[in-house]
Structure formats: C-alpha cells, structure tokens
C-alpha cells in the first residue's frame, strides 16, 4: 500500500453503513445470542445448540456450493431438486432395489458415492449449459429445478422409502468425539471452501470471473472450465446435503427432500455478505448468515411466535442485509 493510499484510508470518516456491511451479520448474531440468554428459557443448554446446529447444517452445506456459484456471478436454482435425486437414489442402492449387495458396508459406501456422484454430474450438466451455450444461469438451472424433482419422483414412483440402516444413518445421527457427524462434515466443508476461495489460484479465478468475466477471459483464465467445476461442486454439495436429510429422517420422500432449499441457501449467502452480482464472496459470512437466519427463526418459535410470522421476519432480514451492503459499497 502506498503512503497516499494509507493516508486516504486513515482520513476517511467513519461510515456506519460501511461498518454495518462489514460486521453487521456478526453483530446481529451476537445480539441474538445475548437476547436469547436473557429471555429464552433453557437457551444455554447443549440440546439447544444441537437442535440449531443440526437444522442449520444442510443449509450451510448447500450454501457453501451456492456461495462459489454466486461468486462467479451465477446462481443455482437446482440444488433442492438435486438433493431430492441424491436422496432418492441412495436408499434404492443400499436397500438393494437396483442390484442386491450382501455386504452392508459396501452397499452403503456405494450408495453414498453414487448418489453424490450423480448429483455432481447433474451439476456438471448445469455448468455445461452455462459455459458451452452461454445460457443465463437462472434459466439453465431452472431446467433441472423443474425436471430434477420429477426425475427423483419417477425413480421412486413418488413413494416414501423408509429404512433403518445405522451404517448409513451415521452421517445424520452419529457422533464423532461427541459432535454430530453432519456438523463435522459442515465445518470441514466450510474450512476447505474458505481456504480454497482465499488461498488458491482457483479461488481467485472464481472471484475474477464474478468481478469482470470479459477481463478474466482476456487475462487468460479458463472461464468455461472454472464454471464447470463450480457448478459441479454445487451439485456435489447438494448431493451430500440430500444424504444428510434422509439419514436424519430415516426416510426419503422425493416430493419433500430439499424443497425450497435453493431459497434458503441464497438467503444465507445474501445475508452473509456475498455480493449477489459476483466478485466478492465470503464462506464464513455464509456460515454466519445461515446461523443468523436459523437463530432468528428459533428465537421467534421459542418465544411463541408462529412459524408463518418467522417467514415475514426472514424476508425483512434479507432485504435489510442486502440494502445495508449496497449502501456500504457505495460509500
């Protein structure tokens, strides 16, 4: 940083909008926790922590992929449907409906790998439409949003698949060192993605494309390849989240798994401080954003406000967060 630049930075007056845009989500989260300590009964218990963490997990896992997609200036509407596909496929495999497999561990491993892999392939398909045909991401992923859930319903004929396979349900119900497995999974994914975005060339390329795609292309970045990878990652994340959801429920309903997830994930990303137009992204912010939305909902429910009113509040938070960030940028 040159001297003049430093001076300018120092002499800049304090701007509340800029401050809120940077730290607003964190402050909101802290205030919410304080409020709950003061007013919500039985808040400071392990059970509260567990309930909130397990509920927020699937949203965070999907939102990590969504953050990367949005960082390139895109959007992925298909994540909920991809969750349904992976959630429909896995039980079919480990229950031996396609090919009977005797060894349970082998069946579960195959189920996980194939289900997540198929979701990844569908993500790749999204990326292919966007990179190869230059179709707008919102339209390209709309195709699988509509068709994807249909595919999952056709696979299962719309039937509920119930199961009790502890080896599989470990990812939703098991614990590692006392911590729920899906929380460990979420933390690992968040760390990996945050590191990738900040420290790797690939991460910087993602942000460059979101900032100015044409400039990125002219400076030699393989834009198409980066997009393919990013949408594939989003598909993989959705696939994993689908497995976690059905493991928790001990059942898979293609009509319901991942319903509305695309909106929850986008909301988490927006509240977390990632620019929806691309070019600036924060994975940790997405984690905080998802937790804030979850905690708001929990706070309202725990204090007797109906779930429907929580939806309205959620809408207000999204608008407020995005509005503050836009002001912060302009200042």
């Amino acid at each position: 940083m040159t001297d003049t630049a430093r001076q300018q930075r120092i002499s800049r007056p304090f701007d509340p909008f800029d401050f809120m845009a940077r730290y607003g989500t964190l402050i909101a989260l802290a205030l919410l926790i304080l409020f709950n300590f003061a007013f919500t009964r039985n808040f400071a218990t392990m059970q509260t922590l567990n309930v909130n963490l397990t509920q927020v997990c699937t949203i965070v896992i999907v939102a990590v992929g969504m953050t990367l997609v949005i960082a390139t200036g895109g959007i992925d509407l298909s994540v909920g449907s991809l969750m349904a596909i992976s959630g429909a496929l896995a039980p079919m495999i480990f229950l031996g409906k396609i090919v009977p497999i005797d060894n349970v561990a082998l069946a579960v491993a195959a189920a996980m790998i194939i289900a997540v892999g198929v979701a990844g392939l569908f993500g790749l398909f999204n990326g292919w439409l966007i990179a190869r045909f230059r179709i707008q991401p919102i339209v390209a992923t709309l195709v699988l949003f509509i068709a994807g859930r249909g595919i999952a319903q056709v696979l299962t004929n719309g039937n509920l698949q119930t199961f009790r396979v502890p080896q599989f349900q470990w990812i939703g119900l098991g614990r590692l060192f006392g911590i729920p497995v899906q929380v460990v999974l979420m933390v690992l994914l968040v760390i990996a993605a945050a590191w990738m975005l900040k420290r790797t060339v690939f991460g910087r390329q993602i942000l460059a494309i979101g900032g100015n795609e044409r400039a990125a292309e002219l400076s030699g970045i393989a834009v198409s390849r980066v997009k393919l990878v990013v949408y594939t990652i989003s598909g993989l994340c959705a696939g994993i989240a689908g497995l976690v959801v059905i493991a928790i429920n001990s059942s898979s309903d293609a009509n319901l798994v991942g319903m509305g997830m695309e909106l929850d994930a986008i909301a988490a990303v927006a509240v977390g401080g990632t620019l929806l137009s691309g070019g600036k992204a924060t994975i940790i912010g997405t984690l905080l954003g998802a937790m804030t939305i979850q905690l708001v909902r929990y706070t309202l429910l725990a204090n007797g406000v109906p779930d429907a009113a929580a939806l309205v509040v959620k809408a207000g938070i999204i608008v407020l967060a995005v509005w503050i960030q836009q002001h912060g940028r302009r200042a």
């Binding site: 045909f133 179709i135 339209v139 319903q153 909106l263 429907a308 999204i318 995005v322």
Partner: protein
C-alpha cells in the same frame, strides 16, 4: 432486421408452430381432445397461469424478474376467500388489492431502495407466503357459496369460461399497452438499455415501478380465480408458479436479459406447457403407455432445455452475422 428482433420472431413463430403441431397431434390421436369439455377445462385451469405469466413477461422485458408471483397468488386467494362473504366483487377487489400491495412493496424495493429484483422479490415471496399462512391460520379457507363468488371461477359467459375471458381481456390490454403506448415502448427501452433510457429522459423508474405493481395485481387476480374455482383460499398453493411462468415466458421467445418480448408468444408459451400436460393425460387414458404425473415435470424440463439451447444457438449465430456487416 436486427439480431434480437430476428431471434424474437423465430421464437414467437416457433412457439406458435409448436402449439399448432401439438394441437393437431392431439386432434388426430384422441377422440375428445377438441371436445368442448376438454377445451374449456384446459382454458379454465390455465387462465391462472396465463395471468401470472403476463405480469412476469412485462417484468422480464424490463430486465427484471418477479419471484413472488406464486405466493402472491396464494395470498390473493386467501384474502379473496376471507372477503367473499361480503359479495363476489368485494372478494375480487380484496384479492387483487392484496396482490397490488405485494406489487407495490416490490416496486418500492426495486426502484427506491435499488435492491436487485431477484433478491427483493425473493424476500417478498417469503413475506407474502408468511402473511397468507397467518391470515389463513395455516389451513385452507373456505369461500362463501351464497355470495356468488364461486361463479367467477366456475361459470361461463357466452358459453366460455369466465376465467378465460378475464385472461383474454388481460392479454388484449397487455398487447395494446406494449405496442401502442409510450409506457409499453418504455418497458422495452428500459430492458434494452436502462442507462440510455434514462439519458433520453424516459421515466425509467416509473416504468419499472408500474411493471412490478401490475405483476402483483395480476398475481392477485390469479389468486382470486384459484379461490373461486376450487372453493377455497389456499395459502400453500402457488409453489413453483413463478418458475412455471418464467418457463412459459422463455418458451415464448422473450429474452431474460430484457428488451425483447411478445405478449402473444407468452400466451402461446403458457398454452403449450399446459396442453403438453393435457396430451400426457390423454395418452395415459389410451393405455398404450402409463406415464405417472411425475413425468410431467421431467417432460416440461426437457422441453425448456430444448428451447433455451435453440435460443442460445440462434443468438450466437446471429451475433456472428452482425459482426460480418
């Protein structure tokens, strides 16, 4: 002829041609396909989607998007059902009014607070849905059968379903506004290049304000029809309507980047997607195949896929041609 114009013409003729082929196919293959009952029931049901898609078409032509239309329709249906004991017109007015309220908030968020349409209308989708659930107490609200409210959705006028009449009137008005008023021309100008529109002195913000406001009102109207057709306000209906409407608009050749679009082709897009489902039902009735209702969304998705790839191919070829000259 400019490239975009060419694409939109190919798009609109393409969708009309596809619609004609589909109807011909149905007429040749199924006995009662062009029967009075089938035609009126298809029109009666799809008129709701047609209204929502009309509003969406205008919003998309300005380069925006309105994700809130589905839950706005749900809210409209609940409000209309609650107001229906006061009379059919009161129910109608209340439902449309509720939709206009949502549209108004969308318009303020987009034009005053400068929040991206995608985010603003996403938030309003949640808010409208939450309000609908609160008003309805999480269950469907029965409409009044004494006040004549149900005739809006269920009766005929001159032998033709009233919802279809409403949709026809709305489309005629939409067509006139788009093609013969300065506001309509302004809609396309804003979508084509917003900054240039502003510099030319056109009221870009007012135009955008109007399209979101109108889209909300049309969604509310669709909600009124929903409530009176099925006899209940349904707070959880309308899920995915926005995406169906976007698909219909895209199939009709309107570019999502704005600036190009056609009201008539949007209607053709709605009918195409609706009749596709109808044909599927007839085919199941024939017994040769038995596709479950779940195939419907797969086929719609595939259809959308083909259309967007064709659009993309045409537009990229077009751009090369422009560069040559």
């Amino acid at each position: 002829m400019t490239r975009q114009r060419l694409i939109s013409m190919l798009g609109s003729y393409g969708v009309v041609l596809a619609l004609l082929l589909l109807v011909l196919f149905g007429w040749a293959r199924y006995d009662y396909f062009l029967g009075f009952f089938n035609i009126t029931s298809v029109l009666r049901y799809n008129s709701m989607f047609a209204l929502v898609a009309l509003g969406m078409c205008f919003v998309i032509m300005t380069g925006g998007i309105d994700l809130s239309v589905g839950s706005t329709a749900a809210l409209g249906s609940v409000v209309a059902a609650l107001a229906s004991p006061q009379g059919a017109l009161v129910g109608l007015g209340a439902g449309v009014g509720a939709g206009l309220c949502v549209g108004l908030i969308n318009a303020i968020l987009v034009t005053r607070l400068k929040i991206m349409p995608f985010v603003a209308t996403l938030a309003m989708m949640l808010a409208a849905s939450g309000t609908a659930l609160l008003l309805a107490d999480n269950q469907s609200v029965s409409v009044s059968y004494e006040s004549g409210f149900t005739s809006i959705g269920q009766d005929n006028f001159l032998g033709f379903p009233i919802p279809a009449w409403i949709a026809i009137v709305a489309y005629v008005v939409g067509w006139i506004v788009l093609n013969f008023t300065s506001t309509g021309r302004g809609v396309l100008a804003v979508g084509g290049n917003e900054d240039a529109t502003r510099l030319m002195g056109l009221p870009a913000d007012r135009i955008k304000f109007l399209v979101y406001f109108a889209s909300g009102g049309l969604a509310g109207l669709a909600g009124v029809i929903l409530a009176s057709q099925f006899g209940a306000g349904q707070p959880i209906e309308g899920v995915g309507w926005e995406l169906f409407a976007i698909a219909a608009v895209v199939v009709g050749g309107t570019l999502l980047t704005g600036g190009v679009g056609s009201v008539g082709a949007t209607l053709a897009g709605v009918l195409l997607l609706g009749i596709l489902f109808n044909v599927l039902n007839f085919e199941n009735g024939k017994g040769w195949i038995s596709l479950s209702a779940y195939w419907q969304s797969v086929i719609r998705g595939l259809f959308l896929l083909v259309v967007v790839i064709l659009q993309a191919k045409l537009s990229s070829r077009g751009s090369v041609a422009v560069r040559d000259y």
